[in-house]
């Protein structure tokens, strides 16, 4: 915590300066809304029962992107969403609040970013929700999609790829000040595109250890390898995740564990074959949350999806999208076991989502 003394006031100052958008040379206002219907079934005893049948605004991003100069710009994003945990049925989260400085360091195509920003780990930072489900590292709580931090990120020469190094708070955007992983977290990420259609990437993230912290303190080493193969209408994403957790203040290392998993996600775009922008998507996840034999939690998840992108922006990116997903999650232990999968249950879920975006430069 002591080590964050200088970071927290600096970041807080940056974040609170963000609303001073009147200084901006240009201001883009944007948003993204996800209206979703979810229908989920699962076992209760020997019966299959409906566990969820609901409509929700899962995400309601409101986004301000001021540009202060050609080399300095920012982003301030809040997420307004449906939730039962608030009495009014809606919640609000701060998602991004950062500034990009492009010429602070005189290296071509390098940006210094300060504030609540993307976490450049695995596929989480450019996961565009082609399927409704989250990126694997997000889904299995390996990394968060945004966190408070300082990063250097940029492009390798000649379109060879990208990189990022940085230091984060380590708690993610949903928590601050809680006594969890509060020492700075260090990140390195590189992605290369050696030839057209082949992308290879690797990420590493670890936090430091302060033995005086609470017993719940975890030291984590996170590693991720990704590959993407794209040819014509076919685009296949693959990701392998490894997580090593130590509890320095728990004697004998009895609580220490490792977790690992992988994902394969093929996407077929029918846009080049027909006049409609339709995507067919599959996904297979295998996630072993712990190697502890007494607490087995091996998940196999299969997702099938169809996207119909029926409106696009000037850059041909989907602006309005109808998504349909079928997700089947199954744990490979006998469901009757007392500690089965940490009380998680096998489920089958259908989700239908209307997602739309807007983006305008108002100044």
């Amino acid at each position: 915590m002591k080590s964050l003394k200088w970071i927290v006031p600096a970041l807080a100052a940056i974040i609170f300066v963000m609303p001073v958008f009147s200084f901006a040379q240009e201001l883009r206002v944007g948003g993204e809304l996800w209206n979703r219907w979810t229908y989920q079934t699962g076992k209760s005893g020997n019966d299959t029962v409906t566990k969820k049948n609901s409509f929700a605004l899962e995400r309601g991003y409101f986004d301000l992107r001021p540009k202060f100069s050609e080399s300095t710009s920012g982003r301030f994003t809040v997420d307004m969403f449906s939730t039962d945990s608030q009495k009014d049925g809606a919640g609000l989260k701060l998602k991004y609040g950062f500034i990009d400085f492009k010429d602070l360091i005189p290296i071509k195509d390098m940006t210094f970013t300060a504030g609540l920003q993307k976490v450049y780990f695995g596929t989480i930072y450019d996961w565009d929700y082609t399927l409704i489900g989250k990126a694997p590292t997000d889904e299995y709580k390996v990394a968060t999609s945004a966190d408070y931090g300082l990063t250097l990120n940029g492009q390798l020469p000649a379109g060879f790829g990208e990189y990022a190094v940085g230091v984060y708070n380590g708690e993610g955007y949903k928590a601050y000040g809680k006594n969890l992983n509060i020492s700075p977290e260090f990140l390195g990420n590189v992605r290369v595109v050696p030839i057209a259609g082949v992308t290879l990437g690797g990420s590493f993230m670890t936090n430091s250890v302060d033995a005086d912290d609470a017993p719940t303190y975890q030291k984590q080493v996170l590693m991720d390898g990704m590959a993407r193969l794209a040819y014509g209408p076919v685009d296949v994403w693959m990701e392998y995740i490894y997580k090593d957790v130590e509890f320095p203040n728990v004697a004998g290392g009895v609580s220490d564990y490792t977790a690992n998993g992988f994902m394969v996600m093929p996407i077929i775009s029918l846009r080049s074959l027909i006049d409609y922008d339709i995507q067919l998507i599959g996904r297979y996840d295998r996630w072993d949350a712990t190697d502890d034999a007494a607490d087995k939690h091996l998940l196999n998840a299969i997702t099938g999806g169809v996207n119909y992108n029926f409106m696009h922006d000037a850059k041909a990116n989907p602006k309005m999208q109808l998504q349909l997903n079928l997700v089947q999650k199954a744990y490979d232990e006998d469901e009757s076991a007392a500690g089965y999968a940490n009380k998680a249950k096998d489920t089958t879920t259908v989700m239908m989502q209307l997602k739309y975006k807007f983006d305008n430069t108002i100044k």
Binding site: F23, Q25, E26, Y39, T41, T48, K67, F68, S69, E70, S71, T72, D103, K108, D109, Q155, L156, P157, A158, G159, F160, G161, E162, V193, I195, A196, G197, T199, R228, A230, Y231, G232, D235, S269, L270, R271, S272, L273, I274, D275, Y276, I278, G304, V306, Y308, H312, A314, K315, A316, N317, L322, L324, L326, T348, T349, V350, M352, T361
Partner: protein, 273 residues
């Protein structure tokens, strides 16, 4: 479980019936991007379609960045651009399986333009930078009349802006009072109607209603642009996914041919040869 799968299958079936009967049109070439390249692409498309009536070419503007993004997304065959591709754009194309190939189709100089009544005839690159960053605010500071300078610029999606930013501003911040306009035409029209204005546009947009001034004592002419002695000279490009083949290749070869380069000159730009 069965009921869930039935629901899913029914909705998939409904979605897939939507595009039935639709067929992608053959013999169609689509291009979009730079508004600077737009008149060349339009003139070339018209001439090419006259020659080959079975080919249909659609040409849209939007800015260089828009054209490159559309190429990445596979919705156009050719991205028109008034600047080279950026590292990020190349990486993004390649990661989607698109190997961008660049074809130079013309030379151009970014002409610095003022109102015809303005007596200033020359500015150095440093003076241009100081004007656009508002260190110089009156024409009398550069030998002109006692008149406030009105800064006219292109918007940031424009390739012309990016080349101007790199070659003239060298990273300097355009002053907040500048009018950021979406096209070369808008710049020229605004400068023509504003006595204190300064703007910049591709040579193809220069007309008698505005005055072109020298930059570092060099006028943008065919010779000075071709030999790059004009400080704001550049090439104009068409980008394709992989090597241009078939009708797309023939269309680009047509623009690069003597016949196509005559069209380039007719539009007020400088030919490659």
């Amino acid at each position: 479980m069965k009921r869930t799968i039935i629901i899913f299958s029914v909705v998939v079936a409904l979605l897939l019936t939507l595009p039935l009967g639709a067929q992608r049109r053959k013999n169609q070439i689509t291009t979009s991007g730079s508004t600077t390249v737009l008149p060349i692409a339009q003139a070339a498309a018209e001439a090419y379609m006259d020659k080959y009536p079975n080919i249909n070419i659609s040409v849209r503007g939007g800015g260089s960045g828009v054209g490159v993004a559309a190429l990445q997304n596979g919705t156009v065959d050719i991205a028109n651009s008034s600047r080279p591709m950026k590292s990020k754009e190349i990486a993004s194309c390649k990661s989607k399986g698109i190997n961008p190939s660049a074809y130079a189709i013309a030379n151009d100089g970014i002409a610095m333009v003022v109102h015809p009544s303005n007596t200033v005839t020359n500015l150095s690159v440093a003076q241009i930078r100081d004007i656009y960053t508002a260190k110089i605010k009156n024409w009398n500071q550069v030998g002109g009349p006692n008149m406030p300078i009105v800064i006219i610029s292109r918007d940031v999606a424009s390739g012309t802006f990016e080349v101007f930013n790199e070659k003239a501003l060298k990273g300097g911040k355009v002053d907040g009072t500048a009018q950021m306009l979406a096209s070369n035409n808008a710049v020229v029209t605004t400068v023509a109607s504003t006595p204190g204005a300064i703007g910049y546009a591709g040579l193809g947009y220069v007309n008698k209603d505005i005055k072109v001034i020298k930059v570092a004592n060099v006028m943008p002419t065919e010779d000075t642009v071709k030999n790059a002695s004009y400080p704001l000279s550049r090439k104009l490009y068409m980008f394709t996914s992989g090597k241009a083949k078939g009708e797309i290749g023939k269309f680009i070869a047509f623009i690069q041919s003597d016949e196509g380069q005559e069209l380039v000159k007719k539009q007020g730009f400088i030919s490659l040869k």
